[in-house]
């Protein structure tokens, strides 16, 4: 065999490799070429009514988010010129894929802040389209879609609207009726106006349900107080760690007060539940008992759980009876609940903002919001008319209680900080790590809070 045949053979082999590659691209490439033609082919002509336009809605790949795919046929029937494509990623990869799509020039049109970062992150990174003109041009009115005004304001910065609220979780109390019955206690109220329902009363009742035993299967705690994210918790007691301007300037605090005596005292009250009153579990116990399900309440070992209303979604499967109640009064007359309002956002990279806005409006209609509750398996709508259907969604829980708790939460609620403050995922990571020694009783708040204060300052400046 000489050089020439050798060369020929290698060339053949290479050719074979390349043909395989070409063949592969042939079978898959057809579709993508089609997308390009419709997706980005007619830039600048977004207002055109007859031209086919494809918009992309980027969301998390989980049943409670991807149900929107089932709404597309109805929408496309109403809007024959708009095609909707749902692009999705698992929760853990949501941010990295979104950023890669944007960097790669394939920005989705519609999305929400479903990853680590919240609205403020997107806003401050200049990722969002200002919807104000679109809204004016379209004549969109929040009340037509039964969106409460105070919720519309959450995603408005300096009179510019950047997001339309679509779903709303709140902080509420879930209680284990079996444990209340066993301790012969009356159930906590669902009415936020019941003045007897205070933090102190909650602690008293919790004491009567708490059993600490060497046998882990017998141990149970009266209350698990996971109100909002860690940095927001002082607010429940009336202490404000972030300066007032944070809420009006798009989430960049000019000052923070994590080392102030009020804030430290507020945290102290929470850690007293664990270390002094001993009515709440340590974080280690919680995680051990919660296991893969993420919440020890699910295991039936917690009397009262203050947490997000998403815990309700699995309620139909719990092997014990549950009720919902108001978050007790803790010293803040204005704020007792956290709101987790998710907005629909249009990204700056969108080539068809008008069509994207049509899709958003469609998702906000009462009919679609009602349908979404069932399809998503219990997503709470922002549309107050559709919300009536949501209140009835849970077996064995009085819809009147759910309604009272939700309405009270909206009245006494504050939007969760994780949506409102810039660089929040870093703040949150830092909090989880720095507070850990306090949660295990290895360090005191007085040692840790000044460190947190200086680190928050540093993160915000980035």
């Amino acid at each position: 065999m000489n050089k020439n045949t050798m060369r020929k053979r290698s060339a053949l082999l290479l050719a074979a490799l390349l043909t395989t590659a070409a063949a592969l691209s042939g079978c898959g490439g057809g579709k993508s070429a089609g997308n390009v033609a419709t997706g980005s082919g007619n830039t600048g002509n977004s207002g055109g009514s007859d031209e086919q336009v494809t918009i992309t809605h980027y969301t998390i790949d989980s049943e409670d988010r991807t149900f929107i795919e089932k709404l597309i046929p109805d929408f496309e029937k109403e809007h024959p010129n708009i095609k909707v494509k749902v692009e999705k990623a698992p929760y853990e990869q949501f941010d990295s894929k979104l950023q890669t799509l944007i960097a790669g020039g394939k920005s989705p049109d519609v999305t929400s802040h479903y990853g680590y970062g919240g609205f403020a992150e997107y806003y401050n990174k200049d990722m969002l389209l200002d919807l104000t003109d679109l809204i004016a041009e379209d004549g969109f009115k929040a009340e037509d879609y039964h969106i409460p005004d105070n919720l519309m304001k959450i995603y408005t910065v300096n009179n510019h609207t950047y997001g339309i609220p679509v779903n709303m979780y709140v902080t509420l109390m879930l209680y284990n009726k079996d444990m209340f019955d066993a301790a012969k206690l009356s159930y906590p109220p669902s009415d936020y106006e019941d003045k007897s329902w205070t933090f102190e009363k909650m602690v008293e009742e919790a004491k009567q349900m708490t059993v600490v035993s060497d046998d882990i299967t017998k141990t149970q705690y009266g209350v698990d107080f996971t109100w909002a994210e860690r940095d927001m918790r002082p607010l429940y007691f009336g202490a404000e760690p972030y300066s007032e301007d944070t809420w009006t300037n798009g989430g960049v605090p000019s000052e923070t007060h994590f080392d102030s005596p009020e804030v430290i005292a507020a945290y102290q009250k929470l850690f007293d539940l664990v270390f002094k009153d001993k009515v709440s579990p340590t974080s280690e116990w919680s995680k051990s008992v919660a296991g893969q399900n993420g919440d020890p309440f699910v295991a039936g070992k917690i009397g009262m759980s203050i947490g997000g209303s998403w815990n309700l979604a699995g309620a139909n499967d719990f092997p014990f009876k549950i009720g919902v109640a108001a978050v007790p009064w803790g010293g803040n007359d204005k704020v007792r609940s956290t709101l987790y309002v998710d907005p629909l956002l249009i990204l700056k990279g969108s080539k068809h903002p008008k069509e994207a806005f049509e899709w958003i409006k469609f998702l906000m209609t009462t009919e679609v919001q009602e349908k979404s509750i069932e399809l998503s398996g219990g997503n709470p709508p922002v549309n107050t008319e559709a919300a009536e259907a949501y209140y009835k969604h849970f077996d064995g829980i009085d819809p009147a209680d759910v309604k009272k708790v939700y309405e009270g939460a909206v009245k006494y609620g504050y939007e969760s900080y994780n949506h409102l403050i810039t660089n929040y995922s870093q703040i949150n990571d830092m909090f989880i790590n720095e507070l850990q020694p306090v949660e295990t009783g290895h360090k005191s708040l007085k040692e840790v809070m000044p460190v947190i204060q200086s680190k928050v300052t540093e993160i915000i400046k980035r």
């Binding site: 929760y91 008992v289 039936g300």
Partner: protein, 293 residues
């Protein structure tokens, strides 16, 4: 061809030396039993969890064995996910990746191992260095590249690079090719074999255990890869198994159906275990180089 035949006569040595009740072997066997028990814990856990009911998953403390065996989970997975489609896509990608990796990596590794060409060292260092940059660092530019090639939402980014060699497997095979005795190739050259022919008739058959290893590694890597398909695929009918499985645990607001995830994991194991069971024979019956010496 004659060389290989001569070389492939199996070594009878280990059989001939089998004594009765060799204490070393008894100790080995005992040690293996214990480690195997530990290594198979995941399997036990997977199967047991896959047969629990949704309600039983909420129990504390968790049950060791299912209280009632929920075999219906194994049909439910097909209603929850497009399991058949996911499986098919993963298989297509996996098989193509293995073919591509084997073919190209064996060629390239041979080039690095057998020829003292100019630049050998330099290229080899470059090859190694491609493995030293963490994936998150090249994720964005790589996406830009594939996006310019119009490869988004196709299997191409997942399959084609394999046909141009994977650094890991090239390095691995290079090490194996380097251990082949030079005499074999001298003999081949005397027989008038061309270089490509020697690669095919001498190097490849003699490296069967290594090639089997590469096949297994390449398949498992592709089979369990989550990051690349998540990034490059956007239509649900092109999703792979890991992407589908990740969707089960992606909601922050629902308790994930862990039992179904375990069903999917158990079913996902089938092709890998089968492949391994077939390939592992290569490690026993691989060609032993006795005939040549």
């Amino acid at each position: 061809m004659s060389i290989v035949k001569a070389a492939s006569s199996r070594a009878p040595s280990s059989l001939a030396h089998r004594r009765k009740a060799d204490p070393v072997k008894i100790a080995s066997f005992a040690a293996l039993l214990i480690t195997t028990f530990l290594m198979l814990l995941p399997l036990f856990f997977m199967v047991s969890t896959s047969l629990k009911s949704k309600r039983e998953m909420l129990k504390f403390p968790p049950t060791f064995l299912p209280e009632s065996w929920a075999w219906s989970n194994y049909t439910e997975i097909f209603d929850t996910l497009q399991f058949g489609t996911l499986y098919k896509n993963s298989l297509i990608i996996g098989v193509l990746t293995v073919i591509g990796t084997l073919l190209s990596s064996a060629l390239v590794a041979y080039g690095f191992a057998r020829y003292r060409g100019r630049g050998n060292q330099l290229w080899f260092i470059l090859l190694l260095s491609t493995m030293m940059l963490p994936y998150p660092a090249i994720m964005i530019p790589q996406f830009v590249l594939f996006s310019k090639m119009q490869w988004i939402d196709t299997f191409l980014p997942l399959v084609v690079p394999a046909f141009f060699g994977s650094a890991y497997n090239i390095f691995l095979l290079r090490q194996f090719f380097s251990t082949l005795p030079e005499e074999l190739f001298d003999a081949g050259r005397i027989d008038g074999c061309g270089e490509l022919r020697m690669w095919r008739t001498i190097a490849l058959p003699l490296s069967a255990p290594a090639l089997a290893t590469v096949a297994i590694f390449a398949f498992i890597y592709s089979w369990n890869d989550l990051l690349t398909p998540v990034l490059y695929l956007s239509s649900s009918d092109k999703f792979t198994l890991p992407v589908g499985m990740a969707s089960l645990t992606s909601s922050r607001f629902r308790i994930p159906p862990w039992h179904l995830l375990m069903v999917a994991s158990v079913l996902a194991m089938v092709p890998i275990v089968t492949l391994f069971a077939i390939a592992q024979k290569q490690f026993v019956e691989g060609i032993v180089l006795t005939g040549i010496k």
